[in-house]
């Protein structure tokens, strides 16, 4: 099966509140999949279910071929996760963070050594490898967090608003890394509030009030809604009226 993620009528209720309402979609291996929606649309709930952190109320879902109800531990071992809020330990050094995450994912001593050296070299962190992460610029932390999320060669990596707050060049350097990972076969599942980043995705879904209101390539969505940007599409769907 070459689908990295599949869901069928996946639903989560908290009491009477339906946070995620019968969402159905598939993500192919190596795809960059943009998961968009307004604040409170249900993105985080859906993502938590896919990461094996939250049991669905009903419906089906698989991630990397594993069932979210019965195989959440296998899922956790085969996915990477990064968010702006939680990713690295600020009071550990660059090298310690890499070693810590490598250890959690059960990398062998030899693998860990190679990976650690590769990450430090690739990101140009040689001079700060033994510096506490808290003193690094945000953009460096984000790229390090991304590399660490990929340390165990996961099938799918979930990125929850990975680029908030950084300058436009750093933001694009981060996307260079995303393209590279996707090119190497990793599936990217990403949320963002930057609508220009939605354009970088192969396909995009837009959630409104717990449901997926639209799902297609950016080009097809723009054509369907008769607008020239993903911001236009988002404004129409999420606001329920014309962007003008």
């Amino acid at each position: 099966m070459d689908k990295a993620v599949t869901t069928n009528k996946l639903t989560k209720k908290f009491g009477d509140f339906v946070a995620t309402n019968e969402i159905t979609f598939e993500v192919a291996q190596g795809e960059i999949f943009g998961f968009l929606g307004a604040n409170g649309a249900g993105k985080t709930t859906a993502m938590r279910m896919l990461c094996g952190l939250l049991k669905p109320t009903s419906g089906e879902a698989t991630v990397a071929g594993y069932n979210v109800y019965t195989q959440s531990e296998q899922i956790k071992q085969r996915i990477g996760y990064m968010s702006q809020r939680f990713s690295l330990y600020e009071d550990l050094t660059v090298r310690e963070n890499i070693r810590f995450y490598g250890g959690i994912y059960g990398l062998s001593r030899a693998d860990l050594k190679t990976k650690s050296a590769n990450i430090i070299q690739e990101l140009g962190l040689g001079s700060v490898a033994d510096t506490l992460v808290e003193s690094l610029p945000l953009g460096w932390k984000q790229r390090l967090a991304f590399s660490v999320a990929l340390i165990h060669d996961p099938k799918v990596v979930f990125l929850d608003e990975p680029t908030g707050g950084v300058d436009p060049i750093t933001r694009r350097q981060f996307w260079d890394k995303i393209y590279e990972a996707a090119h190497n076969g990793t599936t990217i599942f990403v949320t963002t509030h930057y609508m220009d980043e939605a354009e970088y995705c192969h396909r995009v879904s837009i959630m409104v009030d717990g449901r997926i209101k639209a799902l297609d390539t950016p080009a097809e969505l723009k054509r369907a809604y008769g607008v020239n940007s993903m911001d236009g599409v988002f404004q129409i769907l999420a606001r329920g009226k014309s962007a003008l």
Binding site: A38, G164, G165, H193, Y200, A219
Partner: protein, 300 residues
């Protein structure tokens, strides 16, 4: 309405704000645009008298930020970047509290916040901590306005907020501006810069440029092209290796390619044809604020 002369602030070895000077006219909507670590928050805190500058001086509405700090506090409204209301108080209690602290009442200045507060009124008994992100932001704005300030300082009001709520927030700022309020707002979102009368681009404590949004766009002085092809990943790789390329970055659906002078669409097209790119589209474009900002970041 705001004058800043050579103001600086250092934390340990970090020079958070370095020798910044600017003026903001009465009634202006002025944007401070820059990423995390640019010094926006430090500058704001000095202007609303929460931090003392190490050097330089500044006045807001004619009051000096050091000498006249008490008088200054009553004529400015400040919405900090982090949610700073009382989460255990209700919506109405928060508003009441801020009105009382400034010696006024909700009723006295209700007209100023009416447009925004009507959206909150159905939830006025809800604890502020239990509000959604967009609602918290609206309440914080009401609390910053309730004493009828002359100048409003908004530190990253839209960070982490979805594109729809961001648009609504900027519409609110537009109507406050129409009432004559002077507004200084910071944001890391370049698309919001075009909604300001003038902007200052900031990076690591320094101002890169101060101008109108269109003035900033005109600072870009090199040929710029939008380029697209089937395989974006290889397109970026190949364009970055091209002899004519200065920079190449993803920009929405297209790549933005900055080249040396004298390069035409045809030059780029034949370079890409040699490398078997399919469905190539190339066109010369005018720079936007983000292009200009990136250019200034690299070349000063």
């Amino acid at each position: 309405m705001i004058t800043i002369e050579n103001i600086s602030k250092t934390y340990g070895e970090t020079r958070a704000v370095q020798d910044v000077s600017l003026t903001v006219e009465a009634g202006e909507l002025f944007g401070l645009i820059g990423p995390d670590g640019a010094g926006k928050t430090t500058l704001f805190k000095m202007l609303v008298t929460l931090l003392l500058p190490d050097a330089g001086r500044a006045t807001v509405a004619g009051r000096d930020v050091v000498r006249d700090y008490r008088a200054l506090r009553s004529v400015v409204g400040y919405m900090p970047g982090r949610f700073s209301l009382y989460p255990d108080l209700s919506v109405e209690e928060n508003l009441q509290f801020f009105a009382t602290v400034f010696g006024t009442s909700i009723a006295a200045n209700y007209e100023l916040i009416r447009e925004i507060y009507v959206q909150l009124e159905p939830f006025k008994n809800r604890r502020a901590g239990a509000l959604s992100g967009g609602m918290k932001q609206k309440l914080a704005l009401c609390c910053a306005l309730i004493h009828k300030p002359e100048v409003l300082f908004l530190d990253e009001p839209t960070t982490g907020v979805d594109a729809v709520s961001r648009k609504e927030f900027w519409e609110m700022l537009g109507s406050l501006k129409k009432r004559g309020l002077t507004i200084m707002v910071s944001t890391p979102y370049m698309d919001e810069a075009s909604l300001c009368d003038r902007i200052a681009l900031m990076q690591t404590g320094k101002i890169l440029a101060i101008n109108t949004p269109s003035g900033v766009e005109r600072l870009f002085d090199k040929p710029l092209f939008a380029v697209k092809a089937n395989d974006t990943y290889h397109l970026i790789q190949d364009l970055r290796k091209a002899p004519f390329t200065i920079t190449c970055y993803a920009f929405g659906e297209f790549l933005h390619l900055t080249t040396q002078d004298g390069i035409s669409e045809n030059d780029i097209e034949s370079y890409l044809a040699e490398r078997q790119h399919q469905a190539v589209e190339i066109r010369r474009i005018e720079a936007g604020i983000e292009d200009s900002f990136m250019n200034l970041m690299q070349h000063g």
